[in-house]
């Protein structure tokens, strides 16, 4: 059952350790967390559950992050959802242009601490919603 007071974050990341660490950290911050371990499942979950933010890995099986992002933006709801793309350095050149063009952010997984990533999530949500309380419908 969804708690209407807090935001829902969807994590799409194929590496188990990273996905679980992120889930733990975000749950600790009182967010409601959904997780998918591949791009196809992640896209399905996003379109079905309409999370408030998506943390999206790039290199994943079944469907890579950039394809998920592209398909997401083709959806009427998906067009608006804030996404933070997570990458390791080699795909940086490929994604930097794509991501920033769409107004999204990207972080380099191997260079950012968990704490900073969580802070970024909170910061973005707060800016978009005027605070960390989900507005009542």
């Amino acid at each position: 059952m969804e708690d209407n007071q807090t935001f829902t974050i969807l994590i799409v990341e194929d590496d188990t350790e990273l996905r679980e660490a992120l889930t733990t950290a975000l749950t600790y911050e009182k967010f409601s967390v959904l997780a998918a371990d591949n791009g196809a499942t992640g896209l399905g979950m996003a379109l079905e559950k309409h999370p408030d933010m998506i943390l999206l890995d790039v290199i994943m099986p079944h469907m890579d992050g950039l394809t998920v992002l592209q398909k997401l933006r083709e959806d009427s709801w998906g067009k608006e959802v804030p996404v933070i793309v997570m990458t390791v350095l080699d795909d940086l050149e490929k994604i930097a242009a794509v991501v920033t063009a769409g107004g999204d952010e990207y972080v380099i997984k191997s260079e950012i601490t968990l704490g900073s990533l969580v802070a970024k999530v909170k910061d973005r949500l707060a800016r978009l919603n005027g605070g960390l309380q989900k507005p009542h419908k």
Binding site: A21, S110, G115
Partner: protein, 432 residues
Amino acid sequence: MNSGSGMRALSASFTLFFLLCAGAYFALQYYTVPTEYLKDAFYIASFAVIALITAVFHQSLLISMSAQSLARHMTKEMLIYSREFFSELYRGSPVPYVVTDNDGLIESINLAAARFFGVSQDALDGKNIYSFFVEDGEHKNATDISLIPEYFKRGKYVNDAELLLRRPDGMTRWVMLSLFPCTDAQGSRKGMLTLVDVTKQKYVDKAKTEFVSLASHQLRTPISGMKWNIELLEGSGGLSETQSAYITKIKRSAERMDSLVTDFLSVSKLDLGTFVPEYKEVGMATFFTGVADEYAELSAHKSITVKTAFPAGGEMMRTDVHLLQMVTSNLLGNAVKYTNEGGTVSFFVSTEEDEIQIVIGDTGIGIPAADQEMLFSKLFRASNARTLVTDGTGLGLYIVKEAVRILGGTISFVSKEGEGSTFTVVVPRSAR
């Protein structure tokens, strides 16, 4: 030899004449002869002797003349033979040879070259050899093709230049080009080129480097996994002091691994030539202070004094931030790493016209004279570095050298074992 046969006939007649005179003389001996006849016989004999001498002399003249012509003939034969021999060597050599004129226009190619180009032996006559070389868009580090015709015209040798060549059928191959100028019989300058196909080696090299790159990237994910979980562990509370200490050690190891992987990735990028510099305007003071801050903790821990001097606040430079970061961070890191407790490190940046001069000095262990030549080689660590500071890959200075080269700068150092080292890097202030 008409004169020869005439001479021979003459000599023969004189010899015959002498024999007749000699015969007559002896005949006269037998039969008593009046004195007048003896006088005549004497004159005839002298004449005959002279004739004989002439004949003998002429024979030797003839012999030497024959010997000379025989020698000339033999030399000519040998020359023809050796020319044919060397022609055959050139023609049949497994190494592609190309002969050009002073402007690089092809005059001849051997069989191996014809095979290499995929054409018949005369198909390339008159074409400019340099027109077959192409810039490799990926590898900005490959030899500059445009320099070679210049070197050649100035009479310089070109040795083992690695270049990409496009055959008439469109296929590209990597070659090692050597070129040396020579002169032909008429005194015109010619060029002799050898082309060795190194495409396979190049691909093997590339595959190796790509593997290092792939492996290093794969390693980044579990390293992030470790670091993030360590963070959660540290934040989880209720840890004993011993547990905290262990966690700190795990964290340090993870960070070391991360730094190694970063180095491997840098090296493989530089080796593959896939590093594409991105030039940006950056504030000098901010940039260099940032680098110095990286080592603030370590230098404080070792009680090392770090003296800095950077250009004033507003001064800007145009450079690739990543590359310059690699250079200064590695050099400063080395200075702090190889200096003992209580030592001094200096980090001075100044500008002169369109150049930035970065001088990083230390009072550390220094570099032994014997190791100084190899210092910038991959995986090289000086003998004293290896024994006194076990942590190090030997990649740092290789990365620094390559990064400086891509930035279009120069690097030099002075060092004395036991006293310290000073590295000087000069880079353009506003790159391209």
